[in-house]
Symmetry: C2
Subunit: 418 residues, 2 copies
């Protein structure tokens, strides 16, 4: 978030007003928990989304670097996903302590046994970064391969900031063209349609798995691998849910996931893509000579390695002690997706060395490039799509140790290149 | 609103859910009065706009007729506006009983005295109709020439209905292509830019006059007629307010209106266009041989005359008695715009004969084509724009005598051609 302390108060008020009206008019709204019926009835009790008023400053060189990494990471995810043995072995210890990852590994193991091939592989990834103040390095925090959130909201916030700078940029000395284009929301939709086209069954549908779905649906697998849900063939399954244990309250949900995995439907993500996104795999890939197993191009390997930060699991006692002594230099990440509080999950956490992740722009706020949003689709060996389509920037008050937007610790932001 | 009694309850629930989510995502929202901060802070306490779930059925022949009338009415408004004497004479009696219209006439009279010419004339009109059940005639209720509301909302509702029928049309037996296209919101903006272009001063701005504007702005007229507001030349003035006495709480507002009128800025509407929209002028135009004063084309005159219903002022004692005896056959309209309650304004009302305006589709709801939204721009004798750009349909419960959307008696709707 740009420094707003120097801005005239009248101008600031006008910008806030315009931003909030813009949000109302463009669907940049969320449910307001303080309104009783909100969340129960859609379209009731709406409030503007948590947003930064102005884009966060971000160095253009680092932005270009993050964009360059997109297609390499997409390729890496795909290559790793095809190495079932690597996934099983790397996660063998995690399996013992994390019941959730263990269930995913069971499904994965089953697929290995029946030699299930995913020909059309669809990934909608988000690679998250922080800027290290001391070394000026762009360091990867994590790579998300399932249910990447805020694709459409991030597009809207970029558009809002761009429109605001179109209106007030001159007086602020800011140029709206320095906000990178962001089409994440649209392109997510487009690539799902592309996957549907690739599946090549005009009567089949795209199924989106969401949380809090109350209707029971009957799933069935045909002998040719076609997934039928309520009698309809499914071409593509997009998981907007399924990344967290609470999404599987009973055995039915695990059965459903298993059923989908056995089918010929394009999964976004497949169980393999899902597993590649665990922190443990991220840690394994950072080990010497591991990247070389999956990538051929030496330059690509160097680029990826450059953005790896220190990652340790909590069984490294030295690191744990160091983290206890200097907690500001480390962040803890849960093995899997879902965010929220993870105090009780210490046994399967990964610690990331922060070096000196201090607020990039000023001491009050921390910007997170969280992160580049990308899409990848392969059919057998053929790359059909491998592109960056947008980005998510969040800004949090530096005094908070938590950074979740939905949890209320951070706000949605966009990038202003410097 | 199509008959929903036959629709499966599960399907209905899904459609309602989808419609409300769609509304949230597309800015089809209004302030929720039951939320405390709503209306004070923008972007807070939002709720979906009052909408019909499905479009209202409307005969295609009547729709085509309404569309045909658009350019003729636009021309008529322009011709009448140029006849200052006709406006002053027709409204001379109204002037005595309606203080508001009287003030407008004073400004108009001043402009006549200084022989002020409006070269670029911009009109954003809405012609409202009802369908008469007995005669099957499309009858004009009124012609609005100032602050026509819901241009963007009507566009959104048409889009919502079109999207809903895209999703559920097959099972409902309805075809989304039968909803006429509606670009009112966009085209309003485009025609304002066109007027700005026509004014031909690249450094001049478009000024939008709104209600509840608290900032004081300094207006000044230069010797060449240029209107300066806070030092900026104004090319176009769009009145989103100024149609109702409460918009002029002090002499300052009247002075501002007078200042604008003297300037060379394009006014939407000019004082003349504003006056043409009064019910009294509508009544005068319905008198024998009056249309012939303004239009040359006999076919056009016949088309317009066909949609005139009976209009009487309240000094016609026979009609007043008849209206008291059979109130369902009449509606009362105030002389000027602004809607709301008008029980206390009886002395300058116009009564419109309803014949038998009964619900078109079923007895529970009344659809109002309220109405065709159009834009017209002239430069001297040259017609630059004269087009229909959208429509507003509202649906009200037939048991209510009031029909205002903002007042809570009606909902926004779109048209399904039958």
């Amino acid at each position: 978030m740009a420094d707003i302390h120097g801005i005239d108060q009248e101008l600031l008020k006008k910008m806030v007003y315009d931003a909030l009206v813009w949000s109302s008019l463009h669907g940049l709204v969320v449910g307001d928990k303080s309104v009783k019926r909100s969340g129960k009835v859609p379209g009731v009790g709406l409030v503007h989304a948590p947003i930064a008023l102005l884009p966060g400053l971000f160095p253009e060189t680092h932005w270009k670097q993050a964009c360059e990494l997109v297609s390499i990471f997409n390729e890496l995810v795909d290559r790793v996903s095809l190495d079932g043995k690597f996934l099983q072995e790397s996660l063998s210890r995690t399996k013992k302590v994390d019941a959730f990852t263990s269930r995913l590994l069971d499904i994965h193991s089953n697929m290995l046994q029946i030699d299930k091939k995913e020909e059309i592989r669809l990934g909608l990834h988000r690679s998250d970064y922080m800027l290290d103040e001391k070394t000026k390095l762009l360091l990867q925090v994590e790579l998300n391969t399932i249910s990447c959130s805020f694709a459409e909201f991030s597009r809207l916030v970029s558009q809002l900031h761009s429109d605001l700078l179109g209106q007030y940029g001159e007086v602020l000395g800011l140029d709206s063209r320095m906000i990178p284009e962001n089409h994440a929301g649209n392109q997510y939709a487009e690539v799902l349609v592309k996957a549907w086209t690739e599946y090549n069954n005009p009567s089949a549908v795209i199924m989106i798995v969401v949380q809090a779905e109350e209707r029971n649906m009957e799933g069935e697998l045909q002998s040719d691998g076609t997934l039928l849900v309520d009698g309809q063939a499914v071409a593509v399954v997009y998981y907007r849910a399924g990344y967290t244990p609470t999404d599987y309250p009973s055995e039915s949900e695990w059965k459903a996931r298993f059923l989908v995995e056995q089918s010929s439907a394009v999964k976004c993500p497949s169980i393999s893509y899902h597993l590649v996104g665990t922190k443990k795999i991220q840690q394994e890939l950072a080990q010497p000579n591991v990247l070389e197993r999956f990538l051929d191009n030496k330059e690509d390997i160097a680029k990826i390695r450059k953005c790896f930060t220190g990652l340790w699991s909590l069984d490294d006692k030295d690191i744990v002690n160091k983290a206890i002594e200097t907690p500001d230099l480390f962040i803890m990440k849960p093995q899997r997706e879902g965010g929220g509080r993870f105090h009780h999950l210490l046994n399967f956490l990964i610690v990331i060395r922060l070096n000196s992740f201090l607020p990039f722009l000023n001491k009050e706020f921390i910007n997170l490039l969280q992160g580049t949003i990308s899409m990848a689709m392969m059919n057998k060996d053929k790359v059909i799509v491998n592109d960056q389509c947008g980005y998510l920037m969040t800004t949090k008050v530096s005094s908070s140790n938590e950074g979740g937007v939905a949890a209320g610790f951070a706000v949605l932001d966009s990038i202003y290149l410097t």
